[in-house]
Every structure is written in C-alpha cells, then in structure tokens.
Symmetry: C2
Subunit: 613 residues, 2 copies
C-alpha cells in the first residue's frame, strides 16, 4: 500500500478541487464527489494501472464514472494524475471546455459519456467482455456507481451478464452515500441489502467503510484477484464528507458552494494542495491476435428469388465476420429471428448472447466499440425502443455502433402490435449524427451491411420479416445517402417514394396504374438518413410535383417526414406530398390484410395516386 498519509492528503485534494471547480462554475455536484474521494484516492494512488500520457495504451485500465454527475471528482483525479492543469480544471462547465458538466470523451481518458444513470456498468461489461474473451488483455474495468442509480434496472442487467460471463476483470465501486437528489435513497445505508442483491446476481460483494483508506485498499487488492467472478465493493460513505456543514446533510445535491462557503470548506479540508500522483504503469501484455482478414465475399441472391432482408442481414453479417476479424456481434435472445445466429454459429468466439436485455445489448456493443471492435447489435426493431436512452447516449459519446432491428411494421402479421416497430425510423432519425437504412431486398441489404461496418456513429438498419423479391443484381452499388429510381419514364405523372416492404407494394401499384395508362416514377429511398434530396427534387420537377410517400411506420418522424425534410431549405417547395402511413393501432392478421387496413398496400397506393391526379 502507498503511504497512507499521502493518500489521505490526496483524498483531501480531490475534495478541495471538486469544490473549487464547481464553485468557479457556479454549478455541479461537489458533495457527490466528496463522498467518493477516498475511494478514488486509493484507486489512483495504489491500484489503477494507467498511463495518462498515453490514453490509447491498450493495457490501460478503464475508469468509468457511472455516476457521471461526480465529474468534479473525475476531473480532480485527472489533475492529480497530471493529465490536466489546475487552470484547465477551473474551466469546468464553461463553453468550449473539455470539462463538461458530465464526463464526455472530449477528454481522452473518458471512454463514454455518462450522466444518464445506470449506463456505466453495462458499458463496462462490454469493455470487460473484450478484455477477457477477445483481446485477452489484463486490463481491469473500474466502475464508480452511485447508490441511487442501483434503482435502474440496467444495473441489474449488467450484474446478471457480468456474472454469466464470469467477468473477473470488472470491479464496481458502489458509493453508498445514502442521499439521492431529493432525499434518502430507497435503501439508505442498508449495505447488507445491497450486498445480498449483488451476491444473488453472482458477484462477490465486499462491504467496507468508504472512508477507511486501509479497508478500501484491502478491498481493491482483493477485487483484482482473478476468481472467475466480478466484484462489487459496497462502500458506506458520507455525502459531502469532510466539511461540517455539508457532511450527510440533505439539500446539497447538485449544488455548488458560494465562494464564501467554498473558502470555509476548503479551510476545513486543510487548504489547497497540488499533489501529483503517478499511477502504476499498465503492463505490457500483447493482445490476442484477431482472426485474419480475408476478401469480403458478400452473399448474392439471384433474380426471381425471394429472401427476407433479415435473412440477408444474417448472411451478410456472417460474410463480414469471415472477412474482418474485428467484427463482433451481440443479440437480445432472438438471434434465430434476426438471423444474427448465422454469425453466432460461424464465429461463436465473437458473439455474445445478451438474453432479453436490450439495454445491456446496446451497452455491450458500445463497450466493444470502445475497444475498437466493429460491433453489430440486433433484436426486433420494436424492442430497440427499450434501449433508446443507451442509443442516445452512445451517439453523444461518438462511438460507432451498428444496430439492426428486424420485424418492422404491420407486415409482420399475426404477432400483433406489441411486436411491430412503427416508431423506429423516427426514433433513430432523432439520434445525433445517425444513419438510418431500410433496404427492400437481399442484394441491397448485403451491400448496406458491408457499408455499415465502415460508417461512423450510430448506424441503424431496419429489416423485414417477410420474404421479398430480389430486385437488383448483386453488383449494384447502394451508397449511403443515395436512392434508386426503380421505375421512370418521360411521362411520369407522379412519384412514389418508398422503402423496404412498401417498395414492393409500390411496384405492384406501378403496374396497376400502368394498366390504367398512368405512368409513375418509383424511388427506392433505402437511405432514410441521410436522404437523397437531389433525386427527389428532380422527381418533383419531372413528375408534376406530385409526391406520394408510403411507409410501414407511423405518419410521424419516418420516411414521410424525411422526404418533406429533404424538400425543406431556402428553395421553394413546389410539390404536393401525400403521406401514406400507419395511422391507427393495428391488430393481428395476415401481412397483406394489415398492409391493406393501414392503407399502404398496392391498391391503396394506386388509389392515392389516382386521387391526387
């Protein structure tokens, strides 16, 4: 153990700096930082293995503040480690500063944005999975948890999966300071209950006094001994520890001290210090070699055949896995429906079953992405909504995650509305810097899956349950941001914009209308975001400004809105845009019955065109 007097000084410095930076900012969470200062002092001084000068070192431990609001403490740790200056520390929460209100990867020592509680541990599980099973590196994942956030179900999804995968490289540090935002937490200081829950979920729990440096040190030493089990340290602490008027007092959550209060507090804590601690250097282990790369041989589907896009997704994912050793996949216990099981069977070492825990599924993909894996996650598109907060936060973290939602829309048929994604396009469009793809057939799906691997940010693909006809040759290109004009003539009277299942209905409508002597243009808008506005605007001009958009989705936020959005801007819109979409809650039935009832099948499209003209 490091010199205990020095660790005590370090802990006081972390408290003082947490107060100083939040007081200068005029906001922030000093008291939630102070409760965990002793824990972090011992961790930094004695257990963390991290080269702050080389944040990309693959052997660095990971330090995740799942309780992201304790950012003053994290930044004070970075200062104590010599990673940032005192001057930068005092830019906390200022416009343009890397030291944002909650941690973000604007700082190279931060893996992911936290601040939406209950996300750090599940993401840590993804990082630990890579360390233990893929890279086989000895880094540890340290996750500081708040007691309040243990109310989030996602914490227990993480607990469940960490023990299932025997992740003895992840260590939770539960800062049990008893006080939540507006009063006492559900369990207060009931350490025994926390420990019982943690143990029941397959972890080792170590209960300690979180202000006893020797106890902390011993707990960390115990925690890093590999024993096939994750460890969580339940540390009883005092919020605002060390300052008479803050310690264990209600009403101080998320409040900065005034300059006068700060002066008094800092005096009580023994004044400013400028200790710099050099943590242990990481080991120099070499990662297990990745499977060798090979030329990509995407699946191809012949003309006059049918294949479900969800199956083409699985085929292409398997092909991608064969070509690239860095491709990994997770799924939410429905891999035989999403067809991710093709990858799982071919590359069992690179597939992780997340059972029915969609939040953990997305979080694992995020964690794997932090370790530079090309992670794909899949479940029913409807159940992506379960993980929306995780997807939102992943986008803010600027990590690269590819998600595939199958069984979209009313066209799934008999299973009924609970299984029908009708909001996924809206939800995924409204994610920072996202890409939203909706292929209609097999060859297009395969090409787009390959493109997903090279795309940054959150990339979402929507697939269809039903088999659909192959429309394109296998060598056709489908750039992200593009579209395909699949039917056109010089006498087109209107344009039908469609994607996925409704493209096939539109092609049928084209034939119905052609039989009437009406030619329509049909656009396959497979790239919902970014959307190909150029092709659309040409169509507006060439087809009398008559646009029909048809989608197997609610009328709000999906393909129709994307089409309208593409027409927005300083140029005048000279078009009539009729949106055909699902407008009332569907029931069960055959896919064709439900498409018709929703007003989005070929007959309804043809009728809408006739009415418009």
């Amino acid at each position: 153990m490091a010199d205990i007097t020095q660790l005590r000084e370090l802990a006081q410095q972390l408290r003082v700096d947490s107060i100083r930076c939040s007081t200068v900012a005029g906001s922030g969470h000093p008291t939630s930082s102070m409760s965990a200062a002793d824990l972090l002092a011992v961790l930094l001084g004695d257990h963390l293995r991290y080269d702050f000068a080389d944040p990309k070192n693959p052997n660095n431990d990971h330090l995740i503040f799942s309780k992201g609001h304790a950012s003053p403490l994290l930044y004070s740790v970075f200062k104590a480690a010599g990673a940032i200056t005192d001057e930068e520390l005092l830019t906390f929460r200022k416009f343009g500063s890397r030291l944002q209100g909650h941690p973000t990867p604007a700082l190279p020592w931060v893996d992911v944005t936290t601040g939406s509680l209950g996300q750090g541990l599940p993401i840590g599980v993804g990082i630990a999975l890579s360390g233990k099973y893929l890279e086989k590196l000895p880094f540890r994942v340290w996750v500081l948890l708040g007691d309040s956030e243990s109310a989030e179900g996602s914490i227990w999804e993480a607990m469940d999966h960490a023990s299932h995968y025997q992740l003895d490289n992840i260590i939770g540090i539960l800062d049990m300071n008893r006080l939540g935002q507006r009063g006492e937490t559900d369990l207060g200081w009931n350490s025994a209950v926390y420990a019982a829950r943690i143990r029941a979920f397959g972890w080792r729990a170590i209960e300690i006094d979180g202000h006893d440096l020797a106890q902390i040190d011993q707990a960390f030493a115990e925690a890093v001994k590999p024993n096939g089990q994750p460890t969580c340290i339940v540390a009883k602490t005092l919020k605002g520890r060390g300052v008479s008027f803050l310690e264990n007092q209600p009403g101080w959550h998320g409040k900065a001290l005034s300059p006068e209060q700060a002066d008094q507090a800092i005096a009580e804590l023994g004044g400013r210090r400028n200790l710099v601690v050099k943590p242990h250097q990481p080991p120099t282990a070499t990662a297990a070699p990745m499977p060798a790369n090979h030329p990509l041989e995407l699946p191809s589907y012949g003309k006059d055949t049918t294949i479900a896009t969800r199956q083409a997704y699985g085929d292409a994912l398997r092909a991608l896995g064969a070509a690239r050793g860095d491709v990994v996949a997770v799924d939410g216990e429905v891999s035989n429906s999403t067809f991710a099981d093709e990858f799982a069977k071919a590359f069992p070492d690179r597939f992780f079953e997340m059972f029915i825990a969609e939040q953990q599924m997305v979080a694992a993909a995020v964690g794997l992405s932090v370790r530079h894996k090309v992670a794909f996650g899949s479940t029913f598109a409807a159940f992506m909504s379960r993980a929306y907060d995780f997807i939102r936060m992943a986008a803010i973290s600027h990590v690269n995650v590819r998600l595939c939602g199958s069984h979209a829309g009313v066209s799934i048929g008999e299973d009924g509305p609970s299984q029908m994604a009708l909001e996924d396009l809206a939800m995924m469009r409204a994610v920072a810097d996202s890409t939203v793809l909706y292929p209609s057939e097999g060859n297009q799906t395969a090409k787009l899956v390959a493109a997903m691997a090279d795309r940054s940010g959150i990339v979402y693909m929507r697939t269809t349950r039903e088999k659909t006809a192959v429309l394109y040759p296998p060598d056709e290109d489908f750039p992200i941001g593009g579209s395909k004009v699949v039917r056109q003539s010089s006498s087109d009277k209107a344009t039908v914009v469609a994607a996925g299942i409704t493209l096939h209905e539109s092609l049928k409508a084209y034939e119905l209308l052609k039989a009437d002597g009406t030619n329509v243009r049909v656009i396959d808008a497979y790239s919902v975001k970014p959307f190909d506005g150029s092709t659309l605007r040409t169509a507006v001009k060439e087809t009398g400004g008559n646009i029909i958009v048809v989608e197997d989705h609610w009328a709000d936020g999906g393909l129709g809105d994307a089409t309208l959005e593409a027409l927005s801007g300083p140029e005048k819109i000279d078009a009539r845009v009729v949106k055909l979409a699902v407008r009332s809650v569907p029931g069960s039935g055959k896919p064709a019955e439900l498409l018709h009832a929703a007003g989005i099948d070929a007959d309804c499209i043809a009728k809408a065109v006739r009415e418009l003209l």
Copy 2:
C-alpha cells in the same frame, strides 16, 4: 382446494385449447402456454376472484400475462371461465379478432397490452399501489412471468418498488420452463438463484414444482396471506409439458403444431374437453373515498414576471390535485427539478416516488391509469427515452397517461448533452394517438396541464429549465391542436414558427428585424401534435410563403417536421421552409451561449430571415 381431478382435467383442457387455437392460426406459442397450464388451472379453479361477466367490477383480481406470448393459454383460460366461446377461441390471430397474437385490452378482461417482455410486473406494481394505498380494496394482482424475461432490468425495478411499498397484494408466478427462444435461459432451472434474487429484492419466494397441483395450491394459499411483502412463486416447469415430442424439447419456441402434430398431441393429452369453471366471486368491498373535488383554481402569473414552465407545471399539478381527487403523480427521483414535488408535498398520499427507475415510473402511471386514476409522471425529458418501450406499449394499450419531461434542449446550459432532451418531441410524436405539448410560459403551461387531465391517450408536455417571460394573460385559452399568432401585421414578409424557449428567441428576433424595417409573423406552436395546420397555411399565404421553424431539438422529427407535415396532403405546398435546429452535439456552457452555438437564438433567427428574403 377444489377437486384435484377436476383441476387436472382443466389443466389438460388449457393445454389442448392452447394447441388447438394456435394450430388453427398457424402461429403462436403453444409450448410456452403448456408449461404454465397447471399454474393457471389452479389459479382459475381455486384462487382467482373474478366476475368474468362484470369485468369492470372494482373488486376483481387482476390477471396479467407479463409473458404475453402465452396468449393461447390466457385465451384458453377465458374460454374455461365461460368468458369466450370455443368458436371465438379459434379466431386467434385472425384479422379483426379480439384474440390477437399477444394480449390487448380489446378483450375486457385484459388490462394492458403485453408482449414486450418485462412490462407486466412493473405495470402490476402500479395497479397494486392503487389497490393498497388509494382504493384500499382487497383485490390481488397476479402476474405470470416468463423466466427469460427476468433478464429485463425492468423486472428488478418492479421487484425493488413492490417491496419498498410493501405490496402484499401482488403475486408473481415465474414459469421457469428453462427454454428461451433460441436455447436455454441464462439461469436454466436454477430455482435457488431465482429465489435468492427475489428474496434479496425484498420479496417472499416460494419454490415449487409447477406441475404439482397440490404444491401450486398451497403456494397460492400462502401467497395471498397479507404479510407486508410481495410474493413470487418460482415454479419449475417443462415447456410443452404433457406431450412427448414437445416436453422440454428445444426448437419449439413460438411454433404452432401442424394439424397432424396437434391431433397426436391432443390425443396424448386425453382429448378435447369443454369444462367451464366459475371462479370465486370477488368480494363486495367498497373503495376508500377519493378526496373531494373542488373548483379548479389554476395558478396565474402576472405580466412582466418570469417563471420557468417546469415550475408552472408543478404549480398547476398541485392545483389540479386540489381540484380533483382522482389525480395522482409519480416521479423518477427528480421531483424537486420537475416541480412535481409541489404535488408530492400537498398530496403525499397520492404521490409515489419511483426513484431513478424511469421504466417503473411510466409503468406505475400505466397501472394507476388502469385503476382509473388520472396519472401524471415526470422526469427530465432526456430520461423519458429510458422508458420509450413502456410509452409505446401504453399507447397500444389505449391507456391514458400524462407525462412531463423537464430540462429540454440545449437551453439547460451547463449540465451538458447527457441531460439535454433533443429527441423527445420526435419520440413522442411517433407514439400512437399521442398528444405533444410544448408551452412557452407560465399561464399557457397551467392551462395545458389542466387540459392534459381530460385528454385521452399518451399526453406529453415538454418543459423548460430556464425562467421565461410571461406572455399571455391568465384567462387566455390554449386549446390542444391550436396555436397563437403572437406577432403579425399586414406587411409580414415571413413567418417564424416556434415553441417553448425558441418562442422567446423569436420574439427578440422580431424586434431585431423590425428595427431593420422587416415585419415577420410569429406563431407559438405550443401544440406540436396535433398541429394547427390552418393557422400555418394562412401564414404561408399571407407572408410570401417564407417559413422559418426554430426548435431546441434535433432537426429530425420535432417541430420542424411537424410543421412540414402540416403542409403535406393533396394541396400544393407553395412555401420555403427553413429549419433551424440543433445539428451537432452540444457541450456545456451558458444557455445563451449554447442557443447561439446551435444557431437557434434571436440573432440566428434574424439572420436566417434576412437570408431567406
């Protein structure tokens, strides 16, 4: 106990009928139904207190299939109870049938739609809260759980809250049949681990053989004894129980039997039966009286004052609570930020703290709504994304739930992007039959909160952290679906559409432009969905077709898309629509700095208008 031979016959009938209806449908989950048939036979025959002829009887027990895919079993129970005919049973999954693929309230004995796993138990918690604390009625809430769905964190949120609130009126029945969709569950038949987890979360756990009718009967008898603790029965079962080629066999999840297979299975089960069981009648208890109603006295705010809309929400909610005894509220441990704490302090008996568990928060509101309470739920708007699947499902259930998300947009300032809702309008627009409100000031907020109480479906209000100026007199009306033209003249050159915080920026921009000699119309689009297309279209005609929409939200799916959507339809759009919205991930900073950086403050609006003209 009822005659055991008869219960055994009943169980076999439930199995046979589960097979029959799914075979006729050609899809469904017979084997997941068969594992729980003995449990349901004993429940129906001996413990459930339910008048199927009077589903609105307030003393009826509740029966929730959290594992909604076991719908064949549920419908077979309804047939055995005489609630539906055998003929209707065989309409399972057909177009137009009430017997959908997963249970929905199209059937009067079904409280809520299930089928997205992990939702039945948290909703049951809400129902049980009403029974124990509000109505003080002796009904019990029986929830059939799948073992796979215990991987969902929301199950543990429910476990946590049920024990916190000592809900001894809720009984979980965990059908531990070992087999998930694509293989064995995480815990298989490890009953001891399930029981340990359940006990650690404060429940009584009773481990039984789920096919031993006497053990089941005894467990139910034990479970209904009030002891201040919820009870979960962990029942070891066999998937496909009773049929040689199905029992405990992989590969049968979600598969209907062929007619030939069904004949063999039914023969093994002893053939068809047509038992009708009359369950125990519910007691005739009287609900505790609700607090008396009084005339509504909404808060009002004077001209030249400022108030945050989040605070006006709290003020109005408290006023509503004083006026209406049926109004109740839940919050996710941030009630001092959302201002729901005003209600909590005034009416502590009608407020339930859901701690930091947004899924449970929304589910509790749903459950309270099932018991005809006017339920309001609140948290930071960003964290509504955590509960999106619950909101989606609540809409499909056609329950009435009012949600308020505070701290929307970049205008929250220093806390940074993890706390900024920038997707909530998109997310909430894409909910079936939803209402989306975004008030800009205090008096408007108060009126809209009152309107929320009378509105059906999912009603969402977005509030702002910052104080904003009062713009309207207290007696102004704000109908849902309306808008306000707050600035106009006969020489308007453009129209600015705004809501919430950006309305105030637009009013400043109006002054800047007026100083230049440019008049613009300003529309307060407080009702984002339904949207007032009529006022907009008039503005398009009268202001040269120049429209600027400005929102503190991503560019996708929010106010801008709602504006464009309002212009869609068979009428030609003759407008230029420029969307000002947040387009890159913000950091921390002062609200004004962030509004400017996002291009949505007064200067940016004025600049956009000038560029457009």
